[in-house]
Amino acid sequence: MPEVVIPIGPQHPALKEPVNFRVIADGEKIVRLDLDLSYNHRGIEKAAEQRNFIRVLPLLERVCGICSHSHATAFAKGIEELMGLRIPPRAQYIRTIIAELERMHSHLLWLGVAAHEIGFNTLFMWTWRDREEVQDTLEEMSGNRVHYGMNEVGGVRRDLSASQVKAALGRLPSLQERIGKYVDMVNNQRTMLVRFRGIGTLSKEEALEFGTVGPTARASGVDYDTRRDDPYLVYDEVPWDVVTASDGDVFGRTEVRIGEIAESIRIVRHCLENLPEGPIRVNAPKTAPKGEVLSRYEAPRGELVHFIRTNGTDRVERVDIRTPTLANWTSVAHELVGQNLADIPVIVAAIDPCLSCTSRLTVINSRDKKECQVSFEELRRKKKTTWAGGGPA
């Protein structure tokens, strides 16, 4: 069979965000994948150089709608390190609570999307309903569901009242119970086992070689988690464990994410119960001394890196953002080779791609080879026929 080029995206029903890739397939099997990330590029790094520290935080928070707190915290803690500020413990605890709530809602969102990709819409509805509990907590604390606006250089902008703490603690037991149910389902539910096991496998060596980060890497047994390796906020004071799995497939990534939700509940509970008294911010100087810092942060999708260079003024000389999804694309391109076309949505979804963060994928032509275009409808039909027989041939 001649090789067929299938363009997917930037607007595509199987993808939750715009990304553009070109899949080169031989029959049902994928031969190669090319990426184009330009669709969402907004030039935020350039724009950040024109704004002072007060105005740049809301901008960076808008790099991404899911890990908004991650970007703001990564930047704020980098600048605070350069300024040599000591942040009050209460502020650090509040930042940690928001960070872990963000991880919970992000992983629950992912679990729903993954369930939806395999046609298991009941689980999708359940997880998104549970996610609302987390979203409600975030809204109560910050006033917002998406961009919490909690950070500023020097601390946080809003304090938590005793009643907010009580309400948040009250929601945790039912969430914990639901997580137990999902662990059960992942291990026993036939639909999930068939569609997740052995799909998109990545060995430990490959995961390291391709530079994967976050749950994608930890599912392959790569024991790296920035929260433990390069502690920030209060992760070195709170009891919690790094979750890893050894399967290396989509099933392993599901296991890791569900395990991380349980750990996040533990961290949030500890922080809420042991919230220290005191101020929530210190007055930060307007300018930062000349210097540079590599600010690492474990976002829900993996390690997020802000490289910040200052020049003694109230603006950054350069802020270079390496997002987790960008680090994971190399492995996706590798994993897809030899897999079925029908598994593209679930394999791509398994890294939990966050494209407004990454915002930089491109599709490539296979030049002189015969090309033909396959619509998404056709891809959907193929998915149905492939899986109607109970699995790939």
Binding site: L35, D36, L37, S38, Y39, H41, G43, E45, K46, E81, L208, E209, F210, G211, V222, Y224, D229, D230, E292, V293, L294, R296, E303, V305, F307, R309, E317, R318, D320, R322, L326, A327, W329, T330, H334, S359, R360, L361, T362, I364
Partner: protein
């Protein structure tokens, strides 16, 4: 090799490539040159046990464009190898063959700063739109959008 990296150990191991400095808790920085970067990266991975590549950071600091390669390993320290690529002739060897994840980052830096990575198998546009004009590198400090230049997308009017 789980014990933390010491500055002396890093200095001794990397002395052929440049002097190592401690830049904060668990951060080491070595300034080297584009000619030595490939060997320095190999040494960093083999002798300093850095099995994880984090990122390439980039900045425009005239007269050079600076590239900083960050690594970490089981010792959890971050080793950063910095090189300066002359702005007038921005050429440096690629690392995409020894470090697969560098390929995508080099394409991005090529788009935004105009650095040529010799030996890169497909240095095509990745982050800027395909109709972005050639020779315009938006993250360079002296870049200003031309009043009559068309930067892609829709033409108004």
């Amino acid at each position: 090799m789980n014990e933390p990296c010491s500055l002396d150990f890093v200095r001794e191991t990397m002395k052929d490539f440049g002097t190592a400095d401690q830049a904060g808790r668990g951060r080491f920085r070595i300034d080297t040159t584009p000619e030595k970067i490939r060997n320095a990266v190999n040494a960093c991975r083999e002798r300093l046990h850095c099995n994880r590549f984090i990122a390439i950071s980039s900045a425009d600091t005239p007269p050079v464009l600076e590239l900083i390669y960050h690594f970490t390993g089981p010792h959890r320290a971050v080793i950063s190898l910095a090189i300066g690529v002359p702005r007038e002739a921005p050429v440096t060897p690629t690392l995409s063959d020894i470090l697969p994840p560098a390929g995508i980052l080099e394409r991005q830096i090529h788009d935004l700063f105009g650095i040529e990575f010799t030996g890169h198998p497909g240095l095509k546009k990745i982050i800027l739109n395909e109709d972005w004009p050639e020779g315009e590198f938006p993250l360079r400090k002296d870049w200003k959008p031309g009043p009559d230049t068309f930067y892609g997308g829709f033409r108004e009017g």
